[in-house]
Symmetry: D3
Subunit: 180 residues, 6 copies
Amino acid sequence: MPVINVDSDCFYDKGTFLPESGPGGNVFIANYHKLGIMIDISDKDIVRRYAKASGRIYLKKETIETISNGKVRKGDVFTSAKIAGMEGAKEAWNRLPYCHQIPLEGVDVYIELLEDSVKASCSVIAQWKTGVEMDALSGVTSALLTVWDMVKYIEKDDTGNYPETKISDVIVETKVKGHA
Amino acid sequence: MPVINVDSDCFYDKGTFLPESGPGGNVFIANYHKLGIMIDISDKDIVRRYAKASGRIYLKKETIETISNGKVRKGDVFTSAKIAGMEGAKEAWNRLPYCHQIPLEGVDVYIELLEDSVKASCSVIAQWKTGVEMDALSGVTSALLTVWDMVKYIEKDDTGNYPETKISDVIVETKVKGHA
Amino acid sequence: MPVINVDSDCFYDKGTFLPESGPGGNVFIANYHKLGIMIDISDKDIVRRYAKASGRIYLKKETIETISNGKVRKGDVFTSAKIAGMEGAKEAWNRLPYCHQIPLEGVDVYIELLEDSVKASCSVIAQWKTGVEMDALSGVTSALLTVWDMVKYIEKDDTGNYPETKISDVIVETKVKGHA
Amino acid sequence: MPVINVDSDCFYDKGTFLPESGPGGNVFIANYHKLGIMIDISDKDIVRRYAKASGRIYLKKETIETISNGKVRKGDVFTSAKIAGMEGAKEAWNRLPYCHQIPLEGVDVYIELLEDSVKASCSVIAQWKTGVEMDALSGVTSALLTVWDMVKYIEKDDTGNYPETKISDVIVETKVKGHA
Amino acid sequence: MPVINVDSDCFYDKGTFLPESGPGGNVFIANYHKLGIMIDISDKDIVRRYAKASGRIYLKKETIETISNGKVRKGDVFTSAKIAGMEGAKEAWNRLPYCHQIPLEGVDVYIELLEDSVKASCSVIAQWKTGVEMDALSGVTSALLTVWDMVKYIEKDDTGNYPETKISDVIVETKVKGHA
Amino acid sequence: MPVINVDSDCFYDKGTFLPESGPGGNVFIANYHKLGIMIDISDKDIVRRYAKASGRIYLKKETIETISNGKVRKGDVFTSAKIAGMEGAKEAWNRLPYCHQIPLEGVDVYIELLEDSVKASCSVIAQWKTGVEMDALSGVTSALLTVWDMVKYIEKDDTGNYPETKISDVIVETKVKGHA
């Protein structure tokens, strides 16, 4: 069995937070172990945080038409995507292992119907110790996946595959720390 | 395809939170899109919030007797309903799309056995930027549904239906902002 | 310390599922312990199950008007309540401690705008070993609470209280076992 | 208040599942209401379903190097993304309002480190009544967002923004119904 | 950047489930990648599965007395632990990354008050393609942690630490495949 | 039906939080009802809280070897256990009925491979009104159960049982209130 001592140049060196592994302990500690953390933000200041992310789902012309005419069989695509997006933002801490539980103070999801795609944008705001861009991104992907789920029956080919459907351009548009 | 510009009298007009849709963008934006939000509370003060909600489930006399005698087959109705109620309060942000994630600081669920019904009350307290009445209401409905679930076998008729069972009178009894 | 032997007329007597408590064990076992269970349905047949539940939220005339005109500030009440209702049905096993995890095969939520109230109905269907009425009821309460949450700002009085708002008449309308 | 009767050419016309709204009921029913559903799959056959989705996150060269060298501060990117992806697949029913609860029978997440991006692929398999492509897509987006979250500190510019980071090319690569 | 071809002796070799990485692709694939999976159980038979797990929490005599007398401040320890245990069993798929979503068909939690400890046992039953021991173990740990949480105020020393409290002996007592 | 008045020496006596049960109400109130609560912490100060918990899973020598050699079939045990542990800490409020929703500000999980066991430690930090030891304990049990789940195939005997596998020694190692 490999025996490796904990080395001393640990990335994470805040007093009480260090492993109490005494010197010479003959334990094997994988070297990623001491790096893998949900980072300690406890000493950071509470500041106003804002982030806006967006992304697109590329769809057939026929699908864009059907959405535009409000004829999608499962229901209203705009409000459905908006709600899935708000929930996606609020659930980021649960979906992404390294994300902190930030009590979000405002979430908005915009859905825009373009010529060849639907664009979803998600704005998130919170007074907290770390940024909210992952929350905004989680909102965007949930909104876009909900659009996909609702128009599956139009996008599918005869084999049940999706040769033209694609989610792309998922980016953080703006991130602001402190009052703008 | 309908082409509608974003109009300028947007309900939601806080600076950084607005969509950065430039002038003349030829995108279709459904008119509810710009109204549908988890409202921004980031600038509100942190204040003590208290809410108490309650509701009733109307049951057969035989069911009330069985609960009163502690003979319900699935177990203790009072504690079960209380726990489901506490969890319901803590989960309101997840169940209700527009609710904020409020870290609740106290939850209590009272179960009272009346002549013809069980009354569940849920009190919630938190120092936060928005009220906790939805959390209290979510607690009450979870507590009452748990009672229903536990006494199904007594309430059912021969067809498996519930001609007499009913949840009613779910109200917010008290809501207080600031110290009483 | 009270010492009570496990008595033998245990409610739950399926072979492998019984506690292996030998005779004369001098342990205290609270008498509800041996009754409190998520009931074993493993030997029941898989049958088509259908349930429809409904309930109402009583609102001000002004609120009904605002919903009817599509002017509610947080967005589209109908689709929002529908989605919260579908999610409430799918989450029943998680919200109600004694509910089984039934993979639901169809959920529909109907929202009707009446003179003095909004009525939400939730239909659930599944081929499974136990009924789906709790899932339908969980859907109804989530839909109604979402309506409440969205119209809070119209229903509130000057003190932030809700003298007229009330959820009532939550019932199981129909339950069917096997094909109708 | 608008008064609209339920029309009869309802999209959803399975017997027991229809709204029991009698003729001439003077209720307002929004026209999307009768279309908005988690579709009834109860009569479909249980068949082997397989889907593989993939997508990419475009990153700086420096970030690709750091991942390749196993030096990312929060820990092991490959296994972290894999686990978030598996969880994302299992949680699709909860994240996407119209998705069914499919008990997945196999999930795999592949992470490939390319010159300019990380590619995540997610394969899902289940014997069930509906396809698993949304589950695979949900897995892919969770895996890619986890990569983003872990390398934020390298991708950020001085203002905390991400001028080069982008998730793109999220597609369904293969979908198979029945044994291949 | 390291460049490694996918080798061919992949652990996981079911046709459709393999990565479609063509020969000679110059991608880096970490060697655990092709091993890390939620294992494919889709071809396994549906069989009756039963597992019973148990464990103990060691407590002060004073705490055992307080539980025995039903005087614990937060409420009824037995029912609380039982419910947390049932929920823990139903949530195993969500808590443990490699666990399948097994729709459990029966869960029971037994709580026994011993001289120096509380013993929690959790029995789980399901007709499914894989065993339910992780579900039973998840139930046991949730039940025991709930006991700890409820008696914290008695177990704590002056510094807020727990010199005597300990969860131990968490084992799978019985696992049965097929009818016993 | 038993009729019991609420007595006056209620454990929980903060003004607004008391049940508004008037004198002489002829309702049955189970005596645990007025004790069973998620305790009100709203008036407590926000203080730096740190807790470290740990526990062990005892395994076969063969299993320890396989982990040490990185040959476990489901993938990387160290990172998998770490992530399950971080998620377990963040989910404590949801798993344990009486736990508050504490937004954790730092979580670390250490995995050590010993001669006869794997030791998991979880450190949690937060500035909040109540301690974080339950969160740390929830992290430890999730990490240890994940190890068990991953090495099941090595630990099992011919009957599918686990004669040697055991989780023990789950304790709170350190708890600190305020800066150390």
